[in-house]
């Protein structure tokens, strides 16, 4: 009863010997349709070139390049400290992973030990960022199916979390707080109390979201059984994060290769089994609860005092010995990593940003979109939770 638009396989184009589809546009059967780059049903600045037959997608090609800022190249022209303000801009909605991964790469190659307190604050910031990212996602996922009110609620609590970011880091979006060596400052006075208030508000909103979005016949109708990721694709496509966990594979860097203080925290990665849009949304919803719990654990365990910055050499002429490293963390979309190569000079030789959206939004989407009804394309895209800025860098 869920298949409102059963695919009509007879209308599929034939596959040519080289594997491409035999689409004869002059036949009048097919229509080229661009979704994006300016389209409410696209996640950020990218586009999908759809070939539709009726209202069914027979082929989808993803196009990126609308947001290329050349960050990786820009970084090669900046000293190690000057890279720090740039990295957060690689991914707008969840910038802190860039700051953390870059800082951790530099610290590893420069042999800097980050103070205990800074590690706790970093982990807390990453969880705060994760909640914000999921809040944006929940609003987007509901919005892609026409349910605008969820976005209004999640934006409200996201804003409360931005207030916490503001008082902790001094900025709301680009926090620029986790810099090589530690973090800029300690927690402000009374932070834990205000954070607790915010967490309670988030919990309240999550309950509302559950009632209105997840216990919703329309939402279920449009998402259950839709956009299934076959667990066999996971390694083939490099699928990580909630997209993998919804397929029943408990991939979580926080558990698999604990960084910062995650080995001292009590949590289990959230998984699902059906691997459809609904399950992925639900995994993320439940992941917010995990993050809320993690922040509470951290606030209880964070040292009352201590240094937040390791002694750094003079950053104006900081040279880092030759080396290379890859540092990764579990962001809201999956494995986020920075690969840094140094050559002993005052500049990074090469920085590569591994964003999970790169695989999810391009190759995986192209595979999943085939057979999808055009009205579901937006929901499918959003369900992969991709951020084009990190695809392009």
């Amino acid at each position: 009863m869920f298949d409102m638009f059963p695919p009509d396989r007879t209308q599929y184009p034939a596959t040519k010997p080289d594997g491409t589809l035999d689409i004869d546009l002059s036949s009048g059967k097919y229509l080229k349709l661009w979704q994006g780059p300016n389209h409410p049903g696209i996640t950020g600045n990218m586009s999908v070139e759809l070939t539709v037959c009726g209202d069914e997608v027979v082929e989808g090609k993803t196009h990126v390049g609308y947001l290329h800022r050349g960050f990786e190249k820009l970084m090669e022209r900046r000293s190690f400290i000057q890279v720090f303000p740039i990295v957060c801009r690689v991914c707008v909605p969840e910038p802190d992973f860039n700051e953390y991964c870059y800082a951790a790469c530099v610290e590893e190659l420069a042999g800097i030990e980050v103070p205990e307190m800074a590690q706790w604050i970093r982990a807390m910031i990453l969880e705060m960022g994760r909640i914000n990212s999921y809040m944006m996602y929940l609003g987007g996922q509901a919005g892609a199916l026409g349910q605008g009110v969820i976005g209004q609620w999640t934006t409200y609590v996201r804003d409360l979390m931005l207030d916490r970011f503001e008082e902790l880091t001094g900025a709301r979006i680009y926090h620029m707080f986790i810099l090589p060596g530690g973090v800029r400052d300690t927690l402000p006075d009374g932070f834990a109390g205000r954070m607790e208030e915010t967490l309670r508000e988030i919990e309240k909103t999550l309950k509302d979201v559950y009632d209105v979005m997840f216990c919703n016949a329309v939402f279920k109708k449009r998402t259950v059984g839709m956009g299934v990721i076959d667990p066999a694709w996971l390694d083939e496509y490099g699928i990580t994060g909630p997209n993998a966990r919804a397929a029943g594979v408990a991939k979580d860097v926080r558990k698999d290769a604990p960084y910062l203080v995650y080995d001292r925290l009590d949590f289990e990665p959230v998984t699902g089994s059906d691997s459809d849009i609904y399950t992925r949304a639900d995994v993320r919803r439940r992941d917010v609860w995990v993050s809320v719990d993690l922040i509470r654990q951290m606030l209880a365990k964070i040292p009352a005092s201590g240094k937040v910055m390791a002694p750094l050499p003079n950053v104006l002429h900081w040279q880092i010995p030759r080396g290379e490293t890859y540092v990764r963390g579990e962001c809201s979309r999956g494995e986020y990593g920075y690969y840094l190569v140094t050559d002993g000079s005052g500049y990074p030789r090469r920085i590569n940003v591994r964003g999970p959206s790169y695989t999810h939004a391009m190759a995986l989407l192209e595979r999943m979109i085939v057979g999808c009804n055009i009205s579901d394309v937006a929901a499918l895209m959003v369900s992969l939770h991709t951020y084009p800025p990190e695809i392009e860098r």
Binding site: P85, G170, R184, D185, D211, L316
Partner: protein, 597 residues
């Protein structure tokens, strides 16, 4: 799917009567206390060092002139372009004076796009006085792990008082690199250094381990780097940006470090060969820093340079005025040898006016430079100061260097609070220790301790070596008993200068002290002995307040005669070096452009 899934969404209606968020949290709320908003700059505290400009990865900051440059202040202030700024606050984090901060103000509306490029603190803004905003946390520092200078290994006081061995050991490579790492390359030191040495560049050469480049940079501006690396008055360090939060960079020791690391052959290789001979001849009288620097420059340009020195060894006051424990003689020999290696002919034991006349030099050479230094001590002219055991410090120091017996007294009193006073006090202390096994030197100075002219290190080390330092004491009379000097009588100084700022000490006569000593040493200043000029030339030349009057290039009123160094600039090695360069340039210009008759 269940009936719940149909009914549950209607629970959204419970929010129907809630106020919108925008009413609960209206626009205009104050930002967080550490919010990174618009910039503030305390322009009085700011020194215009430009580290903010250096670190800004957006190129949003330009240093622009807003006032005249002063010592330790470039006169530049950061102008920030909010079209480029990303509010990362690295500029605040590296600010050496903590003058640059950020307010927590974040709204600014202006129809003129250019308004958003402004000079914080100079262009008045509503947020200039905002109390909140991002300030650099105290332990958050990006310009090096420490604000303190790398420790310099030195001899302990009890060891060094036994001999004239050099006290300071010099940095090894590791410590020099750490010290060099603290430098922010602002260049305020370059502006302050009389000879404008390329200080940030040679400090970078140390960081990079490129000593060839280091020595090349040193010799571009200072052929006395081994000497200045030990005894320079280092005005540069007094303006160093690092001193605003801790110790200034040990610029002097780093200069010495480069010279310690390179061999003579390496220096000669880096210096290269002088230019092709020009056929011009220049005579220089006096082989001190000024004369030899000019000689070095002129010889490198291919001129034939002969330096006449009355004493038996070159070096001038650096050799005969500075004790060996501060500046070993072989260090002077080394710098002089390098200068000789570019073709300078130094003839010692030739006294102009006696062995050769100035007239002869005028006739034989295209130009003549006199750089005689200040070799005569000034006297206090207090009662009793005509006694033979009332001596001049420079005279005594000269005799010690020459290896003569100065008749070291068991107890001595030194008058003066400058470096020369410290030099003679510490020299006497060493001699007393050698001869009598104990130190009995009293030093009295007009100034109070915070205003001593001597280097702080000198004062500290003198005290450690047993010299008793008495400040604010004005000498009144050398007390004579049985025809012998018995000591010095002093009064407490009330003020050194009068209301007009003229030198006119006033005393508290009720506070009289007697300082016993068999010798009283006057170390209150030096003057030049210009007798070699002869009566006629002295009459002909223009003078200004007892010093030869010279133009900007060091040329006297006689077109064939130049003068340089302490005798025109006052006592200071590095100023003499700077003067040497100036006068060399002037001489070179004059003799190559046919201006010289």
């Amino acid at each position: 799917m269940s009936i719940k899934d149909v009914l549950s969404p209607f629970t959204a209606w419970k929010h129907l009567f809630h106020d919108p968020v925008s009413i609960k949290n209206p626009i205009g709320r104050e930002a967080a206390p550490r919010y990174r908003g618009f910039h503030q700059n305390d322009i009085e505290k700011c020194i215009g060092c430009g580290t903010c400009e250096t670190i800004c990865q957006n190129g949003a900051i330009d240093m622009v002139p807003v006032s005249d440059a002063r010592q330790g202040d470039s006169g530049l202030r950061p102008r920030i372009d909010y079209g480029r700024c990303c509010w990362c606050a690295l500029c605040v984090d590296v600010c050496m004076t903590k003058s640059l901060n950020m307010s927590n103000i974040y709204t600014w509306v202006d129809g003129d796009g250019d308004a958003f490029r402004f000079i914080p603190g100079v262009d008045k803004k509503p947020w200039d006085d905002a109390a909140l905003g991002y300030r650099r946390p105290d332990d958050h520092q990006l310009t090096g792990p420490t604000r303190l200078r790398e420790h310099m290994p030195e001899m302990e006081p009890e060891d060094r008082i036994d001999s004239f061995a050099e006290i300071v050991a010099g940095y090894d490579i590791e410590h020099a690199k750490l010290e060099a790492d603290r430098c922010v390359s602002c260049g305020l030191c370059v502006a302050t250094c009389p000879t404008h040495m390329a200080i940030p560049q040679y400090i970078k050469a140390i960081r990079d381990g490129d000593y060839d480049l280091g020595v090349q940079l040193l010799y571009e501006t200072n052929p006395f780097s081994s000497i200045c690396g030990r005894v320079c008055t280092r005005k540069c360090e007094s303006t160093c940006a690092a001193r605003h939060e801790g110790d200034p960079i040990a610029i002097r020791w780093l200069k010495r470090h480069i010279m310690d690391q390179v061999s003579d052959d390496q220096i000669k290789r880096v210096l290269g060969k002088p230019a092709a001979p020009t056929g011009k001849k220049i005579a220089i009288v006096g082989a001190g820093p000024a004369g030899l620097t000019a000689a070095f420059d002129l010889a490198k340009k291919g001129h034939q340079v002969v330096v006449y020195e009355a004493l038996d060894k070159p070096g001038g006051m650096t050799r005969f005025g500075i004790p060996e424990y501060r500046l070993p003689y072989d260090v002077i020999d080394r710098d002089v040898d390098i200068i000789r290696s570019v073709g300078v002919d130094i003839r010692c034991n030739v006294r102009i006016g006696k062995d050769i006349t100035l007239e002869q030099l005028k006739a034989d050479y295209d130009a003549v430079l006199i750089a005689l230094g200040l070799q005569d001590g000034r006297g206090t002219r207090i009662p009793g100061s005509d006694q033979p055991m009332v001596r001049k410090a420079v005279d005594l120091l000269h005799r010690v260097t020459a290896g003569e017996d100065i008749g070291t007294p068991r107890q001595a009193v030194v008058i003066g609070g400058g470096n020369v006073a410290m030099d003679i006090a510490r020299t006497l202390a060493r001699l007393q220790k050698q001869q009598y096994g104990e130190v009995k030197v009293t030093l009295t100075a007009l100034e109070d301790l915070p205003h001593f002219l001597a280097d702080a290190d000198e004062i500290k080390e003198s005290g450690e070596e047993g010299v008793v330092i008495l400040d604010s004491r004005g000498p009144q009379q050398v007390v004579i008993e049985n025809g012998q000097v018995a000591g010095l009588k002093t009064w407490k100084v009330k003020a050194i200068f009068d209301a007009q700022g003229r030198f006119a000490p006033s005393y508290d006569e009720s506070d009289e002290q007697f300082h016993p000593g068999m010798m009283v040493v006057e170390a209150i200043g030096q003057m030049a002995d210009t007798s070699l000029l002869g009566a006629a030339l002295t009459e002909q030349l223009a003078w200004q307040r007892g010093r030869l009057q010279v133009d900007a290039g060091g040329r006297t009123s006689e077109p064939w005669l130049w003068s340089a160094g302490d005798m025109v600039r006052g006592p200071d090695v590095v100023s003499a070096v700077a003067d040497g360069h100036r006068v060399a340039a002037s001489i070179h210009a004059a003799i190559t452009q046919g201006v010289q008759q």
